[in-house]
């Protein structure tokens, strides 16, 4: 029996017998993991930055008493004092008295949402930009406050029931989106960058000069993604839960499956972009080119339903949209995986296409 690798071999003179080398997939995966965890910057961008972003946005957009709408009354309006008093009765409005010039400027620069003034021929006029939702809202509120103050009676009393339900807050919407975004970024950068770097450093060529199985090399990337997936997702989920009480309403298994699928999809896309690219600059460009539309369109920070109707099918076909939607279905709505079959199908499609293409196009040197 040959000696084992552990045998001390201080002196090369008595040549020890051949040893049985370790498992290549394991060694390649370990190498990937070591390279990653020994890169403090990468750790920051993958684990710390998303949490900081969630924290900042969670604080910035936390549900607070709704901001008041700002209304200016021109000082030249007759009965300014009365108008101001009437408007001020509405708890939604903050009222300012401004000269016509000041009022015009404040409206132009968005400092007020609405200006109340007098035009010849009618007691009051509203000046505002109807394309701004805030202004339209201010117009309704001001109109209501004035008419009521001047004696209008409501036809039916309507009761109000304000709600603030956990699960419907911005941070609840945001956390799954950030998980999706992070899986996209780390999957694509993690693989695309590493492969192209290995190619520019001729390391791929060096590997190709060994009996290493090509599939083992690519497999090691998948496995290392699998290893990092857990802390990546967990960091945001745990943070959201502790700091903002963001719940995972569905099963953790469903969350894991969706994350895994998303992670592999972007790993495949990263591999595809890196399949032939020769320089770091080129692959960075491609990455940005592919990721930027998804940053904007895929509903990470705000709902994509705001984009025009004709864009919706295209937006929903994007892998990040599918991933975000599936994550939200699990986390926010607590739906079973089967309810997200369309999103899962979209992810499988992208994963399949990109892997097949990547393996076909891949160049070792």
């Amino acid at each position: 029996m040959p000696e084992t690798a552990g045998a001390p071999a201080r002196h090369p003179e008595p040549k020890p017998g051949p040893v049985r080398p370790p498992n290549p997939v394991l060694e390649l995966t370990l190498a990937r993991i070591r390279e990653f965890v020994r890169e403090p910057e990468a750790l920051f961008w993958v684990f710390v930055f998303p949490v900081l972003l969630a924290f900042a946005l969670g604080i910035a957009f936390r549900n607070q008493a709704p901001e008041k709408l700002r209304v200016a009354v021109e000082t030249t309006t007759p009965d300014v004092g009365r108008v101001v008093t009437l408007l001020s009765r509405s708890s939604d409005l903050q009222v300012l008295e401004l000269s016509p010039e000041q009022a015009a400027q404040a409206l132009r620069t968005g400092k007020v949402d609405l200006v109340v003034l007098q035009e010849p021929g009618s007691p009051y006029a509203f000046r505002y930009d109807p394309t701004r939702p805030q202004s339209r809202l201010a117009r309704l509120r001001a109109d209501d406050a004035l008419e009521r103050g001047l004696g209008r009676k409501d036809l039916v009393p309507i009761q109000e029931e304000p709600v603030s339900e956990p699960g419907a807050r911005y941070i609840d919407f945001l956390i799954p989106g950030l998980i999706g975004l992070n899986l996209m970024g780390s999957g694509m950068w993690g693989i695309g960058f590493a492969v192209v770097q290995a190619r520019t450093k001729k390391l791929l060529k060096r590997f190709a000069a060994t009996p290493m199985r090509r599939s083992h090399y690519l497999l090691s990337f998948m496995l290392s993604r699998l290893v990092f997936l857990v802390p990546e997702v967990a960091a945001l989920v745990v943070f959201g839960w502790i700091v903002f009480q963001v719940e995972v309403r569905g099963s953790l298994i469903a969350l894991t499956v969706v994350s895994l699928l998303g992670s592999f999809t972007f790993a495949g896309l990263g591999l595809l972009l890196a399949a032939r690219t020769k320089t770091i600059e080129a692959v960075s460009g491609w990455m940005n080119f592919v990721m930027l539309p998804m940053w904007l369109l895929s509903g990470t920070f705000f709902s994509y339903s705001r984009f025009p109707e004709f864009l919706q099918p295209a937006i929903r076909a994007l892998p990040l949209t599918a991933l975000n939607d599936a994550l939200r279905a699990v986390m926010n709505e607590g739906l079973a995986l089967s309810q997200s079959w369309l999103e899962i199908l979209v992810l499988c499609f992208w994963a399949g296409v990109s892997f097949v293409l990547a393996l076909r196009l891949f160049r070792w040197q």
Binding site: H11, P21, N23, E27, A31, R34, A209, T210, P211
Partner: protein, 324 residues
């Protein structure tokens, strides 16, 4: 090899011998703007240390990488350990070959031991990691990150990675380029040890002293072709002279009369200097000094040395190896 295609006519003419570890015939590689390798035939015997000596851009790397099965030749055939690339034995060949490429940069974040172990894992069997690291004298650096090594240490690590599979055949592409003399000597010692154990080596270099020290036979390459082939001694002997006189003068000097001096075999002018290859230095030197004085030039400096491979290259190409 039942799956091998019909034998090539070139090889029919010289039937394979059992002791040939590596051979190629009619090897050609063209790139868009240059023919990097313009028809090369080589035979390297088992247990031989064979050197490809040539200036930068001579086509050494391209040749070696075609032999290693990493670059596809445009024409010609390669046979490694009795087998051609792409005929189903690639995997087995790779198990038996240790390769060091000219410009590989190993992962900087891994340690020396991790890197060697990674390479070891690709093979069916190999040498213990500690032993290989000991062979290249990197024991103290086992736990050091690759990024923290000096260039000589990196080069020795690359050597360790190529030795960890206990290869029969070792390819080294410019293993000592850019290293200081001490680092170079350490690498030479490792190569010599591998050679003494019976390993076959193909190395490229543009240092003639490296080729002269390590190689049993040398092929001198220039512009993608082999322009001389033989043992270092044979090549130097082909100059027909054993001394080289190199001198600089102020003022012009006619070359013609120099050739007629007794003991001078050849004369060549390079930049400001003159090179004479000389058989009988005792006769040639006084005659040369006399001739310089006769032509009215003033001698600035003069050195003589034993003829080397460098002089062979100069005499064949008119250029100096290093900065050709």
């Amino acid at each position: 090899m039942d799956s091998a295609p019909a034998p090539d006519p070139v090889f029919l003419a010289s039937p394979a011998r059992a002791d040939i570890a590596l051979r190629c015939a009619g090897l050609v590689k063209r790139y868009a703007d240059v023919t990097a390798v313009a028809g090369i035939d080589l035979e390297i015997r088992g247990g031989e240390c064979f050197g490809l000596l040539g200036p930068n851009g001579a086509g050494k790397t391209t040749t070696v990488e075609m032999l290693e099965g990493l670059t596809l030749p445009d024409a010609g055939v390669v046979e490694v350990l009795g087998c051609r690339w792409g005929t189903g034995c690639d995997q087995d060949l790779r198990e038996r070959m240790g390769i060091q490429l000219q410009e590989t940069q190993l992962a900087e974040k891994l340690t020396v031991a991790e890197t060697v172990r990674l390479f070891q894992s690709f093979y069916r069997q190999g040498r213990p990691v500690e032993e290989v690291i000991g062979m290249v004298e990197l024991q103290e650096k086992q736990r050091a990150r690759v990024g923290k090594l000096s260039s000589g240490q990196k080069q020795r690590l690359a050597l360790a990675c190529s030795l960890v599979c206990d290869p029969d055949l070792l390819f080294l592409d410019e293993p000592t380029t850019g290293l200081d003399p001490q680092a170079r000597i350490k690498i030479w010692e490792v190569v010599e040890e591998f050679h003494q154990r019976g390993g076959t080596i193909l190395l490229t270099t543009h240092y003639m002293e490296e080729a002269a020290r390590l190689c049993d036979r040398v092929a001198i390459m220039d512009h993608g072709q082999v322009i001389a082939l033989g043992t270092p001694n044979e090549l130097v002997a082909s100059l027909g002279a054993d001394q080289v006189v190199e001198f600089h003068v102020q003022g012009a000097l006619l070359q013609e009369p120099l050739l007629r001096l007794s003991g001078v075999k050849a004369a060549r002018k390079k930049n400001q200097g003159y090179f004479l290859t000389v058989t009988r230095i005792g006769e040639a030197l006084p005659a040369l000094l006399e001739e310089i004085a006769r032509q009215g030039a003033r001698l600035e400096r003069l050195t003589t040395h034993q003829a080397t491979l460098e002089d062979v290259f100069i005499s064949l190409t008119g250029r100096v190896l290093r900065d050709a």
